[in-house]
Symmetry: C2
Subunit: 739 residues, 2 copies
């Protein structure tokens, strides 16, 4: 029995050992996470907080001061120096890599030995009045050389002489009114228009189409003067001697005019100037309102309607030409600006993603400035600099984002978004396959009122979430979030009780990323009160008066507004790069599509009778949008029960979210604009600044009013509706389960 | 002490328990795989074997018999019936889903009450000879109705009358020779050309450009007759009464002529016929050689060079018109063919991928046939059917591929690849983002000699690997692999000691997938001995004599050749869908690019003098290819040490492999051909069947010979070289580490 007992005891021991082992094994098995890199949301939100808190307003002030000391026009030595300095500092901040990426693009400069100006000449050809050759230099900058005088970049050369015709803002509708209602033909005339309302390149194109032999643009105080504000340096209004520089291209997203579609590298084939994209064929020149008075005051012809009158003490007569007393006088433009292929430099910095290095979140803004760039673009570049510094700080503490972050300091934005577009062309395949989002960082401030955000609908929710985690920069709002402050000042009343977010138009570097490649994009800045401040842009826009001091003295003395903008832009890229599940919202896209469909339909219904005659129906588009709405809702419904532990399955739904914006790209482009390919958002053909929804349909409807062949125009409307319906259906498909 | 001993014993127990638990935990921890779905290569290759072995030649025979009983032209009741039958059987075989996908596309049929024919008319207008209205019906099919007579689909209607001019094969170079060397103008004439060498649509385009008012195409025995073979039914040669049907479009990849770029759905906007893509403006008609003799025998004019002479007992005089004796006779075409928007049906079946449902491997081939489709396409469709049956069998045993497999039975291929192109347009976004590869399954056999494979270079290695696992179908080669048999018969001597693989051209349904969307693609079939058998295609191509019996009696009595083709096609999709690491080879792409660059450079160097004058250099392209070669080598080098246990990291490199082909797509398309977008592979503009490498450069060089402005043409060559260099550089970038 003793042996038996021993045996039993041994069996008992073995069973216990085995059971314990088994217990341990089981616990070990289940204790181990399937997914080694499951992100911990608390860690992630702690990191976000730390990232935002690291940013400092004083640092932004110093970045801005440092990079606005000297003029740094694209293609100049000084802009290369700033690029090198940014590269060096980004490296010091701790980015994984920083490189200079050059392109050789067509730029345009005044001829230094033959200044541009406009004259009034008498019957003997004597110049009885000449416009100024430069703006009065602001205090403290007297010894600065290389301040480029106001000019229209890419103007044709020439010295046309003729009678002036005043055409208000030079919009399509202004020229229609001039030609059809007022019966004035501008063929062979020189057109004078005021700046504002639309992109200046569109004014130039309209003048060319109307047959003008030259065009002058002036800043009218009605459009560039805020009430009760002094001109710079005593306030932030545009002095009478100031004028707005700017390019006058009609690129429609082509980038470098000589290499459309391809990056402007050494080996790249270049078209001749005569085949370049968007180059105006007539001379163009900008002037300030002091000079404008001289050109306008003696004009003859009819008195225009009130909405054609600006705020100068002249009658705004239309012309052509001067009144009887001055009939023999003509206007002569003297333009000697040169086009020149010039090397530009983007600075590209990277933080390698830890888990998904092949997913890119991009923060890009330009560095080149017309002169000092105090607002445009350095108030944006200083903010990017601070975001890079802050990200570097986190990196040094061991953090690394899930996805790759790319920081870009673009060159030659002012010459047609060239640096950003060439880089997009150079990297198109990688971006198309890998880019999650592009956040733009041009000027951070254009007013002192509240936040302004323009972005794709799928970013709405993230923008709201981020702004709730940022403090209002306004005095007396210390306890208020940026979201609340913004909401109070700019509620989206028509549609919803939330801060207003607008559509993206164009005119800054997001264009190639959003409108050509279909990458989710957004921008944020501080802005004016649109309801009460009616001037265009901000008064000193593109003048020599955009200095560090105008920001420090007037726009943001505490630099808390720029700091808030830094946190918004930085917070967006942080969340896009680090959230395990991409923070993109397809339901918001659906809501927006419904709204846009209603409004384009309403626009068409102004011609209800014609719609019936030509059998134009929006049913297919409405049904596609309904289909998309259901697909988006179901997609987010499924996400709620989705397995977030399996990194491959998370990647699959993230890919659906990432590629949603891509689904709206039509590879064939919009009619006549091969590089504008976004079916939902693009600028109207009549104003690059204004983002239209369903731009193909919008443009076709716009053309109806002007059509010689209404049947053909309505056919185009129908074709565009069909393309929009197809595109929305295709986008809905991308959200359904993949097999 | 007793207490102490007990304590010690307890401590001992606890330590033992803890140690055991810990041991168990540790073993449990490490025993559990990190990656729940790590594919076991042995399991995978066992599954492949089982999949291949499941396929049976007798089954293929029965599938072919079943689907060749009745004519099933696209758009007919019978072709819909076969679609429904295929759908039903695929469901029974066990696919996860099968759906019918309809489109409404432009088709073209003869007018049943007004037959098409060609007459010789005398001076009174009497028809002294008429071509036959139909082919003699083969035995056993006498009671079949709905056999469409030979016609040229999409021919313009009309009854042009005039003198004949014989222009050999109707190639660009034939028309050049006619016009420049022989001095003959075909304006207002009716052109007669022999079939062969190039796609018939290119012949028609050339005739239109030359000003002809009609074109007749005939099958010359020199091109459609194999030596020592009887005409059908006693052999597989084309009888003299047989003629080749076919469409005469110049679509260049547009799909449905009325809805280029968009799927032809109910709501889709359709162009009017006058704006349709690629529709010929002149009447076109095909005839057999019995009829051709009557038209040719009395022709006058010069005797042509020997390479213009076919094998008929006529002198092949060029014309214009008949000899003196018959001078008053003219030729009249009587063409009443109608274009008609018609519903077509693709059948789409799916097996959902287990781990990556959002990765698609596609096996597609058409179902519509000109008549019975004994060879074209049902010898291909029967093979697809057997592959689906075999896959279903594996599914029923619990297997499921890693990725999604899509099977497609396309409609209306014969009318311009319409079914496959419309579906590609409909699903373009999904395919661009998710498609791994497209394997085409048109006719499985066109000869009795050996295997023929045309595919993208990245598939070379997989093709070799698969064919090594398949037995040769030839008698007496029971122990020989298909690879060895093929290698022996068609060695790639010039380049390497391996079986020859050719470039993809066009002319079948892979076109939209490969050339428009940039999806890796390939095709495989059994072929003739190209060195000894000089006829075009196979003699009965597109005639009523393509029956089940011609395959069973002559081409593949044992059905082992079709069986081998089934295993090749099936093996390719199996490995593409199931290998954890995608079996695509970037090094092979690099090797091919080097070869293509050398040969296009040699082509250009025929004009060495001009290259110097116009400063044309291939250096940028050579350097890009070198860059690509290094990137590919490094990529595969890194793969060797890549962590294959981490499914996310495997997905990342697989994405690089999948998107490699996409990198060669230029969204702007080739010049004048927006839907041909592959910079490396596309048909020449002069022959849709021939795949050229660097087609942009090739076409530009081709134009040099014919250029009125050589400087401009050389500029285009330079531009195309620059585009090619950029594209290859961009493709290299996609292979470098992603951040």
């Amino acid at each position: 029995m003793r042996k038996e007992a021993r045996l039993i005891r041994w069996i008992f021991y073995i069973v216990v050992v085995a059971a314990l082992f088994f217990l341990g094994f089981i616990i070990g098995w289940f204790a181990k996470p399937t997914e080694p890199n499951t992100a911990n949301n608390n860690v992630s939100s702690k990191n976000l907080r730390e990232f935002l808190d690291e940013m400092q307003s004083d640092q932004i002030r110093e970045h801005l001061r440092k990079f606005t000391q000297l003029p740094h026009l694209a293609g100049t030595e000084q802009n290369l120096k700033y690029a090198e300095q940014i590269k060096k500092e980004w490296q010091e901040f701790g980015l994984d890599s920083v490189e200079m990426v050059p392109y050789d693009v067509l730029l345009s400069y005044p001829n230094k030995s033959q200044p541009n100006y406009i004259s009034i000449v008498d019957h003997l050809g004597n110049e009885v009045f000449n416009t100024s050759l430069a703006e009065p230099i602001p205090d403290g900058y007297e010894n600065i050389s290389d301040i480029v005088p106001p000019y229209s970049a890419f103007s044709a050369k020439g010295q046309p002489e003729g009678d002036l015709v005043y055409v208000n803002y030079g919009r399509t509708e202004d020229f229609f009114q001039l030609q059809r209602e007022m019966g004035i033909n501008v063929t062979g005339k020189i057109v004078i228009v005021r700046y504002g309302k639309i992109f200046r390149g569109n004014k130039v194109k309209n003048a060319m189409l109307a047959g003008a032999q030259g065009i002058i643009m002036f800043s009218d105080p009605a459009d560039y003067w805020a009430a009760d504000v002094q001109p710079y340096p005593d306030g932030w209004n545009l002095p009478g001697g100031g004028a707005q520089r700017g390019n006058v291209l009609n690129l429609n997203g082509a980038g470098d005019p000589l290499t459309p579609g391809y990056p402007a590298k050494e080996y790249t084939y270049r078209f001749g100037l005569e085949d370049g994209v968007g180059l105006p064929k007539i001379p163009v020149h900008p002037i300030g309102f002091h000079d404008a008075i001289h050109l306008l005051k003696n004009m003859g012809g009819e008195i225009p309607p009130n909405n054609w009158k600006g705020a100068l003490n002249v009658s705004y007569r239309i012309g052509p030409g001067f009144t009887n007393d001055f009939k023999s006088q003509k206007v002569r433009m003297n333009i000697h600006t040169n086009n020149q292929v010039t090397r530009i430099y983007n600075v590209i910095g990277r933080i390698r993603g830890a888990q998904e290095p092949d997913r890119y979140v991009i923060l890009g803004g330009h560095r080149d400035a017309w002169v000092f760039g105090g607002i445009d673009p350095m108030s944006g570049a200083a903010v990017v600099h601070e975001i890079v510094r802050s990200a570097g700080k986190l990196l040094s503490k061991g953090w690394r984002p899930r996805r790759t972050i790319i920081f870009a300091s673009w060159d030659a934005e002012e010459f047609g978004l060239l640096g950003s577009t060439e880089w997009a062309e150079d990297n198109a395949k990688l971006l198309q396959e890998r880019a999650v989002a592009y956040i733009n960082a041009d000027s951070s401030i254009e007013g002192m009122y509240t936040l302004r955000v323009d972005c794709t609908p799928s970013l709405h929710t993230l923008v709201y979430n981020i702004t709730k985690q940022i403090a209002s920069p306004e005095d007396g709002e210390e306890e208020v979030s940026l979201y609340e402050s913004w909401h109070k000042k700019d509620n989206w009343t028509d549609d919803r009780d939330a801060p207003r977010i607008s559509k993206l138009g164009s005119g800054s570097d997001f264009e190639a990323y959003f409108i050509r490649l279909g990458i989710a994009a957004g921008r944020a800045r501080y802005t004016k009160n649109k309801k009460t401040e009616r001037y265009s842009s901000y008064p000193v826009y593109h003048s020599v008066y955009e200095t560090f001091e105008i920001v420090e003295k007037f726009y943001d003395p505490s630099f808390r507004r720029l700091w808030a903008v830094a946190q918004v832009r930085g917070g967006l890229i942080f969340q896009l790069a680090d959230s395990p599940l991409l923070p993109l919202d397809a339901n918001e896209y659906a809501d927006s599509l419904r709204k846009y469909t209603q409004s384009i339909k309403q626009l068409a219904q102004r011609h209800q009778d014609k719609m019936e005659i030509y059998k134009v129906s929006f049913d297919s588009l409405l049904s596609a949008v309904q289909n998309f709405t259901v697909a988006a809702r179901d997609f987010h419904e499924r996400l709620k029960t989705h397995n977030r532990e399996d990194s491959l399955q998370v990647r699959i739904v993230n890919d659906q979210l990432m590629y949603l914006e891509r689904a709206f790209i039509d590879p064939l482009g919009l009619p006549g604009r091969p590089f504008y390919r976004h079916v939902i958002f693009a600028p109207s053909s009549h104003n690059k600044y204004a983002g239209e929804s369903f731009p193909g349909i919008y443009d076709a409807l716009f053309d109806i009013e002007n059509s010689a062949d209404p049947e053909k125009s309505w056919e185009e409307v129908k074709r565009q509706i069909s393309i929009a319906a197809f595109t929305v259906h295709a986008a809905a498909m991308t959200l359904t389960p993949p097999a």
